[in-house]
Chain length 362, copies 2
């Protein structure tokens, strides 16, 4: 297969060629353990079969599949990490079964179709990095008609939360604006140059960065002001690449059970390994990235801070619409817009103003 | 002019489109003040002249030139920051004189040749970012035969230093390797997968990152174990683009006056505004990034840590050869190799082993 296009390599692929980055993912044992369980508890689905690992990285999932009895595993990796995956297969005595191919899945050819595609493609808030596109390309090119995808399903969630991060980021933003005004003064007094006409633009730039960029957080369940609500579900066997590339547009209602200022929406996801309709998994497995007392996976949750927070009473609801679109300049990043109406327990407006919020996922 | 090529934009140009980044440079008053002084103290060179500002960013240097009486200033900026430079020229009542052109200097056309090219192109250790290439392209395309470059000269220096950073980075590296061994154990015990065959590669990756990557530091003069030595000089009016693209290869000797373990070489630069041979500056100005009690410019100094340190007695010398080459995958970054022989005050080997060191400038 071919190497990635060079801008995409600079923007996305390059960090995956480092062992420390693969290690960060490998040692997320909630993540790696879910894939291990999904494979090992469903050996029946793998024994004697042909498997494709899309984005093999270190090769770990390919090794799991080989250990579960796969006849053949094609392990495709776009970066030079492929060379290490090859060594790992040898070091773990799976080199008869695992064939590592370096190149993008979009450009490789395989000698046969496969029974199972396994891939760990999820990014922050599920879709960041847009790697699911590549998995669907692989599915459409290589998966047998009644083949299975591991995982088979994915869901996206929001939960209303309180968050100390909200005022921290607000503080950073205010600090940046205060710094700006001192800077204007210095430039005027040292050089007699007036940069005041840039104030609005600088303000916007800093607000985008500090207030409107979704932030990686490890949210504690106690921060949740209401239960998670699923606003999007994917059946990975049937969703089309065309549907995936369209904006994610959904309406959902969050119960703010606890009441209180809603300082952010926490966004997260889960995936499930249910097998396929013709070959359901004996032991389905679910990998969730919801807030967890034991601490988050490496994905954390993405917190979308709301400035100022939304005043809610106990039992109030946020009736929301979300729209997630890919950035024009970099399809691996996203823009998110949210509209929230504030309703009381009997679905009447509370009088708290509706909110239109825009964010970026960087 | 045209926009930058997309990979170069992702790797280099993109941060310059943010006001916060231009602000960081503007509020480096040792930097900005040197350019201000170079222009204002030499108004005679600018009055009634045509000036080109290569990489105008916010437009600050164009405004200085206009204030010094330039008849016309072409201010070329590759990124969307050009729009703000245009606003700043208007806000500072220089729009009659300053014409902002958005595009790379390599692709713009100007209606006339210019008397002066002013540019702030220097990166860490002078050459990081390789923007001098663009200034020389501009010189060859647009500078009148007896025109001047502001600055006109540049020099690169090393100084032997002691540095607490050396053992800090050594500690980080050792921590990473200890973490690796715990990780190997976990992967083996949780999944029965042996990642031992990656140990050497991981070790190399971590050593490259922690020990062999030149680090930004603010070196205090008290850390210098000997005076700075200039190992490379550029006359910016006469150096050719071809010469610039070749490796920088030089021999130099560092006097380790104080003696002691040499824990790093600190690399830095200066530039001078001497005007041109036909029009020398009335008041030459020098901008130095050498270690300074008052604190560094935003360039700091790049510290090249030596593990283990080199044992030197008082008055010993390090006879060095340096070779600086551009990285193949990204010409804006560098590889540096250093060879050091350890000599006593009478130029005899001290018995301390010679060292061959390789570094990257990331
Ligand atoms: N289109 C594509 N073709 C091939 N590899 C891809 C790809 N898109 C992403 N990748 C690779 O997919 C990997 C995703 S990270 C997952 C790594 C490994 N399978 C594990 O579970 O630990 C990265 O190594 C990345 O380089
Ligand atoms: N080849 C090129 N063509 C046009 N602009 C370039 C360029 N290479 C670099 N630049 C721009 O040059 C600037 C260098 S930073 C200096 C900014 C400003 N002149 C100041 O002194 O404060 C950046 O804004 C960068 O985008």
């Amino acid at each position: 297969g071919e190497a990635p296009e060079s801008t995409d390599y600079a923007n996305y692929f390059c960090t995956y060629s480092f062992i420390y980055h693969q290690k960060d993912m490998l040692e997320d044992h909630k993540r790696t353990g879910s894939y291990f369980n999904a494979v090992m508890r469903n050996r029946g689905a793998f024994e004697g079969r042909v498997v494709l690992d899309v984005g093999t990285g270190s090769g770990i999932l390919a090794i799991f599949a080989a250990r579960a009895g796969a006849r053949k595993v094609y392990a495709v990796e776009a970066t030079s990490m492929a060379k290490f995956a090859r060594e790992l297969a040898i070091g773990n005595k799976c080199e008869d079964v695992i064939e590592v191919i370096q190149g993008t899945i979009e450009t490789v050819t395989l000698p046969e179709k496969v029974d199972i595609i396994i891939s760990e493609w999820m990014g922050y808030f599920l879709l960041r990095e847009s790697m699911l596109d590549s998995v669907l390309v692989a599915r459409d090119k290589f998966l047998k008609p009644d083949g299975a995808l591991y995982p088979s399903h994915a869901r996206m969630y929001f939960s209303p939360i309180e968050s100390p991060g909200a005022s921290a980021w607000q503080g950073e933003y205010q600090g940046a604006m205060e710094g700006w005004h001192s800077f204007l003064h210095a430039m005027s007094s040292l050089y007699d140059v007036d940069l005041g006409c840039l104030t609005n633009e600088f303000n916007k730039e800093q607000a985008d960065y500090y207030l409107q960029t979704a932030q990686w957080t490890d949210v504690h369940p106690a921060q949740m002001l209401g239960p998670p609500v699923c606003f999007k579900e994917y059946d990975l066997l049937t969703v089309t690449l065309e549907e995936l590339k369209k904006p994610v547009s959904a309406a959902f209602t969050l119960d703010v059970v606890a009441g209180g200022p809603v300082e952010a929406l926490a966004g997260f996801f889960d995936v499930e390994f249910r097998g396929s309709p013709t070959n359901p998994a004996d032991h389905p497995v679910r990998l969730s990235t919801a807030p967890d007392m034991a601490g988050s996976t490496h994905w954390g949750q993405l917190s979308f801070f709301i400035h100022p927070p939304i005043d809610c009473g106990q039992g109030d609801k946020l009736r929301c619409r979300v729209c997630i679109t890919r950035k024009q300049e970099n399809h691996r990043l996203m823009n998110v817009s949210l509209h929230c109406d504030v309703l009381d327990p009997s679905d009447m407006p509370t009088g708290v103003p509706s909110r239109d919020l825009t964010f970026q996922i960087e």
